[in-house]
């Protein structure tokens, strides 16, 4: 089957040799990327090349969206306007209270001498596309390292936590959604203040609470907010609602399924929170007990 070229045609190495060469290059790249994380620079450089192609690929969808925005009907605009006016009225009342409460809170905090909560700065980012990868739940947004976005920053929408920035390119950033497999968010049950860790399952619309004891007080409909003890997510952001609690004595932990509150898959804009929370100081390392002298060990072994 293999074609044997006459020796005067220079064809280079045979396909098998080339396959082995290129396979080893790819495997080396995979190991470097997965285990050693050496290739972020290369990825950044390549992303600059890919960026225009991605913008062109995203153009039809955004043109369609803009066109459909343009052709909204008068009545739908009117109704939306009325709804927004109502909302703003009802919210302005709350806002006035909020101002009062904030000053009062600041005053009380100063009295207590506690650290003031940092006012979080946010950046509005538009979702360019959802990552076309059936294995993971990710979004790519149009703000990158040039807009001061940093990896690790939480991403929220009007309702709750959407995810976390995991990779930053010059003009884009990749957001891992809370529904991504093994994405963890430390949460707090607002009803009773119990802390737990919320993990993504890889399915849209399903999260699970891990390592919760069987007798822990979690009920359907409990609201979970970020606890803030991780130093990544600011405390108090709504994350999810408990949708199903299954207690089976055969297992060590209760099986608690939750529903994300934020429209994890249904938005065009999200907010990136630049919460510069100084991490809590590490406790001083405890003095290590001196290693047991060798002589005794030997002696024991001998005996």
């Amino acid at each position: 089957m293999e074609h044997q070229p006459p020796p005067f045609f220079r064809t280079g190495p045979t396909p098998l040799v080339r396959l082995l060469l290129f396979t080893s290059i790819c495997l080396a790249l995979l190991v470097l990327d997965a285990r050693l994380k050496y290739l972020d620079r290369l990825r950044q450089a390549a992303s600059v090349i890919v960026y225009p192609i991605q913008r062109i690929a995203g153009a039809p969808a955004s043109i369609f969206q803009r066109a459909s925005d343009f052709f909204v009907t008068n009545s739908s605009l009117r109704s939306e306007n009325a709804r927004l006016e109502q909302e703003s009225l009802s919210q302005s009342a709350l806002l006035q209270q909020l101002g009062l409460l904030q000053t009062e809170n600041d005053h009380l905090r100063k009295l207590l001498g506690t650290r003031e909560r940092l006012k979080a700065r946010t950046t509005l980012a538009e979702i360019l596309y959802a990552a076309r990868d059936p294995f993971s739940r990710k979004l790519v947004v149009d703000q990158g390292s040039f807009d001061d976005v940093q990896a690790g920053e939480p991403v929220i929408d009007g309702v709750g936590v959407v995810g976390q920035v995991t990779r930053v390119y010059p003009w884009q950033a990749e957001v891992t959604l809370i529904t991504d497999k093994d994405h963890l968010v430390p949460v707090l049950n607002t009803r009773n203040g119990m802390r737990a860790v919320l993990a993504g399952t890889g399915n849209d619309g399903a999260l699970e609470l891990r390592f919760v004891p069987l007798n822990a007080d979690f009920e359907n409909g409990d609201q979970l907010v970020t606890s803030g003890i991780d130093g990544v997510y600011p405390p108090g952001l709504p994350v999810a609602q408990v949708s199903n609690v299954e207690r089976n004595a055969a297992f060590l932990f209760a099986r608690i399924t939750c529903k994300p509150l934020a429209g994890v898959n249904s938005h065009r804009q999200v907010l990136i929170v630049h919460a510069q929370q100084p991490a809590a100081e590490r406790p001083p390392e405890a003095e290590k007990p001196p290693p047991p002298p060798r002589a005794t060990k030997k002696g024991r072994r001998g005996g």
Partner: protein
């Protein structure tokens, strides 16, 4: 079996056209596919790479496959090298079978194309599983069958610029 041995005489393909089709395929891959469409989306880059390897094994080779694979890895934000590895092995399969596949008309060629596309999927899947992902279900392989179904159309489309013009026929 006359139809099986029927071969058209085509004009030589321009290298610029190959580059153009590969970029177009990358664009198609990068369209914002979501939901169920993502499961049915064939890997257009793999499809076009396979087409050119079978038709022009001297023009389309491992280097181009590796570069395209890295491009797709960066665009998808996946591990660098997973698509590159899959496309390299796909090119090898194409080179190995191109003489055999070219004996057939595009429709029976599908039978050869689908296993190669499935192999491509299995390699990506294997790397993802090793990196710690969950098995996404058998619908993951739908895309390869859709790709196979698109093969005759792709083949007709990519042959268009190489068809001799009617004036030259006379």
């Amino acid at each position: 079996m006359a139809s099986l041995t029927h071969q058209e005489i085509l004009l030589p393909v321009k290298p610029g056209f190959i580059v153009f089709t590969l970029i177009a395929a990358a664009l198609l891959n990068m369209l914002p596919w979501t939901g169920w469409a993502l499961w049915f989306r064939p890997d257009f880059v793999a499809l076009v790479v396979l087409y050119w390897v079978i038709e022009q094994p001297h023009r389309m080779g491992f280097t181009a496959a590796l570069l395209l694979g890295l491009l797709m890895d960066v665009a998808d934000g996946t591990l660098l090298g997973q698509h590159a590895l899959a496309y390299s092995i796909l090119v090898y399969g194409g080179i190995l079978f191109h003489r055999r596949v070219r004996l057939f008309t595009p429709t029976p060629q599908i039978v050869h194309v689908i296993p190669l596309l499935l192999l491509n999927d299995v390699i990506v899947l294997g790397i993802r599983l090793m990196a710690g992902a969950d098995f996404p279900g058998y619908r993951y392989f739908f895309g390869s069958f859709v790709g196979g179904a698109l093969w005759p159309f792709l083949s007709a489309l990519l042959k268009l610029p190489q068809r001799p013009k009617p004036e030259n026929h006379v």
